[in-house]
């Protein structure tokens, strides 16, 4: 059971995450969008969406640091586990509360605005609860366990010795269930549900995250594109080729 939960299941989810994105990029570029619903409703969104997004991006950054920076590195830098924890917990709490407030607003909006509810798809109905659960468990970890010492961890639970190690092992293909032994239930569940979320990620509206427009910072403002380039990259369906395309055509600029 442990092997399944901490080794097999994570790999299934991560494979799905990667292959799903590849598949979606190949076959469903047209469906790859943030699916904005701002046209339907503006007031709640203008609070909920920025709160949620700034929160979750902060949370994401925290995860990168927490999961990928081993404790030995920060120790070498002379940052004590206690100091680290203090910073992590306080920043995490702010980001976490923003995220949850934002998400609550967004879900409330989605349920109560008829036009928004009407375009809520089946995948949304799976994604939102899942996202909610993962975030809620995350908050239990940060605030419940680490801040208020829930479950008897009065000094906070050191996930960097357990969950983070397990996660790095999975990513480096040396998977082992051992680091997770003795982790608190809320950390376990958070990790498992997060894996599940990653697994369904590419089939939901969350694909928009991987399309985050970083290239915008570097490109020139005005984009020119040639019709030649488009034509050349576009293969007609089998049986629909134009007669003059079956013989190879000389492509010239005009």
């Amino acid at each position: 059971m442990k092997t399944f939960l901490w080794i097999i299941f994570p790999y299934i989810c991560l494979t799905s995450f990667i292959l799903g994105h590849v598949w979606r990029y190949k076959y469903d570029k047209f469906g790859w969008t943030s699916r904005s619903s701002q046209l339907y409703e503006k007031k709640i969104l203008s609070w909920g969406s920025p709160l949620f997004h700034y929160g979750i991006l902060g949370v994401l950054a925290g995860h990168v640091v927490g999961l990928f920076v081993p404790e030995s590195w920060t120790n070498d830098l002379g940052i004590s586990e206690h100091r680290y924890h203090l910073v992590a917990v306080s920043l995490g709490t702010v980001a976490g509360v923003a995220t949850v407030t934002g998400l609550v607003l967004l879900i409330y909006r989605r349920r109560t605005t008829p036009s928004v509810f009407r375009v809520t798809s089946a995948t949304d109905k799976i994604m939102y609860p899942l996202l909610g659960i993962v975030i809620a468990l995350g908050l239990v970890n940060t605030i419940g366990v680490n801040l208020f010492g829930l479950g008897g961890y009065s000094g906070g639970y050191n996930y960097r010795n357990s969950v983070a190690v397990w996660f790095r092992d999975v990513l480096t293909f040396h998977p082992s269930a051992a680091p997770m032994i003795g982790a608190t239930w809320s950390f376990e569940l958070h990790a498992l549900f997060a894996m599940l979320l990653l697994g369904v990620w590419p089939y939901t509206r969350l694909v928009h995250v991987l399309a985050a427009p970083v290239g915008y910072a570097y490109r020139p403002y005005i984009v020119y594109r040639s019709r030649d380039a488009q034509g050349a990259s576009r293969l007609p369906r089998r049986g629909w080729e134009r007669v003059d395309q079956r013989v190879s055509v000389k492509r010239g600029r005009h």
Binding site: Y27, S36, P50, S121, P213, Y221, S233, V249, H254
Partner: protein, 528 residues
Amino acid sequence: MRVMAQMGMVMNLDKCIGCHTCSVTCKQAWTNRTGVEYVWFNNVETRPGLGYPRTYEDQDHWQGGWERNRRGRLRLRSGGRASRMMRIFANPKLPSLTDYYEPWTYDYDTLISAPAQKDIPVARPISQIDGRPMQIKWSANWDDDLGGSPEHTIDDPILKKISKKIRLDYESAFMFHLPRICEHCLNPSCVASCPSGAMYKRSEDGIVLVDQDRCRGWRMCVSGCPYKKVYFNHRTGKAEKCTFCYPRIEVGQPTVCAETCVGRLRYIGLFLYDADAVLEAASVEDPTDLLEAQRSILLDPHDPAVLAAARAAGIAEDWLDAARRSPVYDLACRYRVALPLHPEYRTMPMVWYIPPLSPVVEALRDTGFDGEDGRSLFAAIDALRIPVEYLAELFTAGDPQPVKGVLRTLAAMRAHMRCVNLGEPVDASIAEAVGMTADEIEALYRLLAIAKYEDRYVIPSAHVEIAGQLDELPGCSVDFESWSPHGGQGLGGGEPVPVAIQTFNLARRRAQADRFADLEEEQMKGES
């Protein structure tokens, strides 16, 4: 000099009768789909009036287009790249549906299926957005022909720029129609605002398009365009816009709006321009210089140096020939009667307008004068300050001189042609007064009044060598909702699949439903 070709359009506003045929045919061709019910790639607005979406010209509010900063550089009016990315999660400058209008249909079924009753059943309006009964409060043309004025008209952003006193008599004084499509700008702020680089200007003909496969629905282009001519498809989650009917243009046919225009007032042809000079021209300090700056980057297709540079840039002979015969170049640069709409947005719009003389003529007639007499027309143009100022706010960043110049040319043409038609001796001073010869005036008259189809539309077709690659190929399916005009145009491999998996079932149900109500019921069943 980097010569590029640009498809352009000129509309002669004197001839627009506001029949909306162009809007309707355009809608039938491009936007009669779910998700774009509220979208009119071509709309005709009454001026003075609020426009569509309401007050879109109020850039202090909407912040579309470019502005020149203190260092003389252009930047998007909505801010730098970083500050705009901060606002991507909820775009504060996105018009809401109420600024356009909430689209609706009618519950026609009640008319047939209602049981026998005392009262005649009525078909109630039903929102196409949330499927519920609604009250119609606004539409794309609610203030058509000054309907509802002065209650609505008073909010016209252009009127607000002209002083208050003038407004009242002005309103009774005149009205005209302004048909609008995307301007296919030389310096498009929509393209500049697109975070994912999905919008582009075609290097062959300058048509501005949205790559539906690359658009990620960030909806920043909608606010970036000062003319509000990019729209958000609320079902597909992608931006869509006027395509200048590129599949028709590629085979040498005019756009649908031009082809069907009842007044035959639209002209389509090529401009050659210097792409390297665009930014500098768009950055001139004084907004009233923008009109001339814009004209200055359009190149004379008869100039051998221009032709040589164009050939070097790979523009084919038949395109150069078309450029020489271009009616839009003649109207904009040779006769200088066509003006760009809101040059002060600094996007270098390529749909030009011949301002209407009719308000002046009508005012003259109403006061008992001869509406075709050159001298009284000239005098009236100078005297009727208000219409001229209004037109100047639309076409020349507020400078009345160029507008007066055009109106005087049109007036001279009117007076001159009356002499010709009545067989009277031609008064040479009329043409001279506007710096033209009698022959030139008559040539302009032929172009404006009797030009045939081939003279109004000089459109070189795309090249035979590459015809096999044109997008008219039957490559995209129209079976499903998610079909889109530019579907499958993206770079990269893979066959175009007309399915968005997130909405696959919704799309299929919709495609198979007989009417709106069926879908509703089915959805209700599914949800409860």
